[in-house]
C-alpha cells in the first residue's frame, strides 16, 4: 500500500513539474537526453534586478541556451489606462520603470502632446530636461551600485546610493514624491520649481563630478573588475540592431544612436553634449559608457540651470482646453473654474487616430503608442520598453559564456523587470 501511495504522489508531482518534452525545440536535444544540465535561476535571485526567472541549459559551466521567463511583475498598466482619462493615466507610468519614473512620464506626456498637437513652453522644457538628466543619473547610480555588488564589489553600492538619495531629495522638492513623482505632465510640468531647488541642484552639480571620479577610482582600473568585465558579453553591432537593442547596450557596440541627438525632444538639440561610444561591445564598455554619461548629464544640467535662471514665463502650456488653470486664477475667472471642473472630471477628447513617439531613457528607447477613440479615454496605449527588448536578446548575448558571467551580462544591459512586464 505504501508503495502505491508513493507512486501516486510521484504522479501528482510530475503533473506540476511538467516534463522535459514541453521544452523540446526550445532547448537542445542534449538537454532532453540529460547530457547537458538544466538549471533554474530565479525568480528570486539577488542579481536578476527584479523578478526574472532564467532557465539555463549548461554544458559544464558554459551556457548553451537561456530561456527567460517574465511576467512576474505584470501589472496590467496598458489595460488599466484604457479606463482612465489621459491625464489620470499618467501616475501609472511611474510604476513601469521604477528607477527612472521621470523618463516614463516624459515618454507618455510626449506621446499625448503629439496626439493632441499641444505645445510646451520654454521654461517647461528646461525643467523637463533637468528632471530627465537627474533621472538618468539616479538610474545609472542604482545600476552602478547593483552591477558592482553583483560582481563582488560591495562598497560601491553605498557610495552610489548616497548620491542617489540627494537626487531623490530634489525630486521630492519638485513633486512632493521621492520616486513616483508624476511630475512631467502633458503640456509641461506639474508646478514650477521651488525656491530651494536651484541652490540644492547647484550644490549637487558642484559635488557630483568628484564622486564620479571616486567610482572610477574604485572600478575602472581595478584588475578584478577588468577580468570580470572585459571580453564578456560581447554584443556585435549587427546583432544589437537585429534584436532592436537601444541605449547604452547599442552604443557599447559602437553604434552612434541616441534619440536625444537623432530625434531631439524637449529642446535637446540646443544643448551641447557628446554621446559616448564603446568599441568592443563588452560588459566593460557598457560600464564606461554609463560612467561617461554621468559627465555628459552634468554638462547638460549645468547649461539647463543657467537657462532656467533667465527663462521666465509659464512652465505649462497655456492651452486651457488641455492644461488646468493656475490656482490663483480660480478666484478671479469664471472661465478658469469651468476649465478646472471640466479637466478634472471629464478630461479632454483626443483624436481617433494613432501616434508613436519615443524618447531616450537611461536604458534605451521608451516608445509610446497611443490610439485614441475620439473621446476622453484611449483605445490602446502600448509601451515599447527597453528592458523587454534586452531580456528577449539575453539568449543570444549570453550564449557560450560561463554561468558566472551571466550575472555580469544581466547587470550590464541594465534591466528593470517592472519596465519589462508593465
Amino acid at each position: 500500500m505504501a508503495v502505491a501511495t508513493q507512486s501516486e504522489s510521484i504522479e501528482e508531482r510530475r503533473k506540476w513539474e511538467g516534463s522535459l518534452e514541453q521544452l523540446r525545440g526550445l532547448v537542445s536535444e542534449r538537454a532532453i537526453t540529460g547530457e547537458t544540465m538544466l538549471l533554474n535561476m530565479g525568480p528570486h535571485h539577488p542579481s536578476t534586478h527584479g523578478v526574472l526567472r532564467l532557465l539555463l541549459e549548461l554544458d559544464g559551466e558554459e551556457i548553451v541556451t537561456c530561456l527567460p521567463d517574465i511576467g512576474f511583475l505584470h501589472t496590467g498598466i496598458e489595460k488599466s489606462v484604457e479606463d482612465k482619462s489621459y491625464e489620470k493615466a499618467l501616475p501609472l507610468t511611474d510604476r513601469m520603470d521604477y528607477l527612472s519614473p521621470m523618463s516614463n512620464n516624459m515618454a507618455y506626456a510626449a506621446a499625448v502632446e503629439k496626439l493632441l498637437d499641444l505645445d510646451v513652453p520654454e521654461r517647461g522644457q528646461i525643467i523637463r530636461v533637468i528632471c530627465l538628466e537627474l533621472a538618468r543619473c539616479a538610474s545609472h547610480l542604482v545600476w552602478l551600485g547593483t552591477h558592482a555588488i553583483d560582481m563582488g564589489a560591495m562598497s560601491v553600492l553605498l557610495y552610489a546610493f548616497r548620491e542617489r538619495e540627494r537626487i531623490l531629495g530634489m525630486f521630492e522638492m519638485l513633486s512632493g514624491q521621492r520616486m513616483m513623482s508624476s511630475y512631467i505632465r502633458p503640456g509641461g510640468v506639474w508646478r514650477d520649481v521651488t525656491d530651494d531647488f536651484l541652490p540644492t541642484l547647484k550644490q549637487f552639480l558642484n559635488d557630483f563630478p568628484a564622486k564620479v571620479d571616486d567610482y572610477e577610482a574604485l572600478l575602472t582600473q581595478n584588475p578584478i573588475w577588468k577580468d570580470r568585465a572585459q571580453g564578456v558579453g560581447v554584443i556585435e553591432p549587427d546583432v544589437a540592431l537585429a534584436y532592436g537593442m537601444t541605449g547604452p547596450a547599442l552604443r557599447g557596440s559602437g553604434v552612434n544612436w541616441d534619440l536625444r541627438k537623432a530625434q531631439p525632444y524637449s529642446g535637446y538639440e540646443t544643448y551641447d553634449f557628446n554621446v559616448p561610444l564603446g568599441e568592443h561591445g563588452d560588459v566593460y564598455d557598457r560600464y564606461l559608457i554609463r560612467i561617461h554619461e554621468f559627465r555628459e548629464s552634468m554638462k547638460i544640467l549645468n547649461q539647463a540651470v543657467a537657462r532656467l535662471e533667465t527663462a521666465k514665463g509659464p512652465y505649462r502650456s497655456e492651452n486651457r482646453k488641455y492644461c488646468p488653470p493656475l490656482r490663483s486664477e480660480l478666484g478671479q475667472s469664471m472661465e478658469a473654474v469651468i476649465h478646472h471642473f471640466k479637466l478634472w472630471t471629464y478630461g479632454y477628447d483626443a483624436p481617433d487616430d494613432e501616434i508613436y513617439s519615443a524618447i531616450e531613457s537611461p536604458r534605451g528607447e521608451i516608445g509610446c503608442y497611443i490610439h485614441g477613440t475620439g473621446a476622453n479615454k484611449p483605445r490602446r496605449v502600448h509601451f515599447k520598453t527597453p528592458s523587454f527588448i534586452h531580456i528577449s536578446a539575453l539568449p543570444v548575448i549570453s550564449r557560450g559564456y560561463l554561468l558566472a558571467d551571466m550575472v555580469a551580462i544581466i547587470g550590464s544591459v541594465d534591466i528593470v523587470l517592472g519596465d519589462c512586464d508593465r
Binding site: 540592431l241 553604434v255 494613432e354 508613436y356 502600448h382
Partner: protein, 189 residues
C-alpha cells in the same frame, strides 16, 4: 562611402507590391501604410534591404482592437481611417541612416485572427509577437515559440481585447471564486 539619396517609401512600396498596399495615411507627420496581411513579411523585408529606404530597426509592434463597432463596413469614420477588420497590428520601423520612422499596418479578422510572423525578417519581433499573441490573441503563423509570454500558461482569455472585463474586479478567494466566474464569462472560458 556614397550614401544613396532617401526615397519616399510610399511610391516605392506601391510600385513593388501593387495591390498589396491597401491604404496610406498621414497623421501628425507619421506615415502609415496598410498592407495585405499575407504580404507583410515581404513588405517588411523589402523596406529593410532596399537602397534608399534601409529601415534597419524594428522599434515596436503594437496591436489594437477596434471592438465593438469601429471597424468594418458600418464604421462611421470610414473616410478618415481605413479599418476593414477588428484587429490591427502596427509595425513601427526605423531607418537610422535616413533618421525617419514608418508604420506598416496589417489587419486580422475577428474570427480566428492570424498573421504571418515577422521573425524571419527581424529577430526582434520574437517577443513582441509573443506578447501580442498572449494579450490580444492574434496568432502568428510560423513563430517558433507559441507559449504565452506574460500571463500564466493556464490563463483563459486575452486581456488586452476590448471585450475583456476591466475594473470593478472582486479579489478571488476560494469562497467566492465560483460567483466571480459567473459574472466574468470571458475570464473563465
Amino acid at each position: 562611402m556614397e550614401i544613396p539619396a532617401a526615397i519616399d517609401p510610399v511610391p516605392a512600396v506601391r510600385e513593388a507590391f501593387g495591390d498589396g498596399v491597401l491604404h496610406v495615411k498621414q497623421f501628425r507627420d507619421e506615415t502609415t501604410i496598410v498592407v495585405a496581411a499575407e504580404r507583410l513579411p515581404e513588405v517588411l523585408d523589402f523596406l529593410r534591404v532596399s537602397s534608399g529606404l534601409v529601415y534597419n530597426m524594428l522599434s515596436d509592434i503594437s496591436a489594437v482592437d477596434y471592438y465593438p463597432a469601429d471597424f468594418g463596413d458600418e464604421f462611421a469614420g470610414a473616410e478618415s481611417d481605413f479599418r476593414p477588420e477588428r484587429f490591427a497590428v502596427s509595425y513601427h520601423i526605423l531607418s537610422m541612416l535616413y533618421n525617419r520612422r514608418l508604420r506598416i499596418k496589417a489587419f486580422a479578422p475577428e474570427e480566428d485572427p492570424r498573421l504571418p510572423t515577422a521573425t524571419v525578417v527581424w529577430p526582434a519581433a520574437d517577443w513582441l509577437e509573443r506578447e501580442i499573441a498572449d494579450m490580444m490573441g492574434i496568432a502568428f503563423e510560423g513563430h517558433h515559440d507559441q507559449r504565452r509570454l506574460l500571463m500564466p500558461d493556464d490563463w483563459h482569455g486575452h486581456p488586452h481585447r476590448r471585450d475583456y472585463p476591466l475594473g470593478k474586479e472582486t479579489v478571488a478567494f476560494s469562497f467566492n471564486v465560483d460567483e466571480i466566474h459567473q459574472h466574468k464569462p470571458f475570464a473563465s472560458e
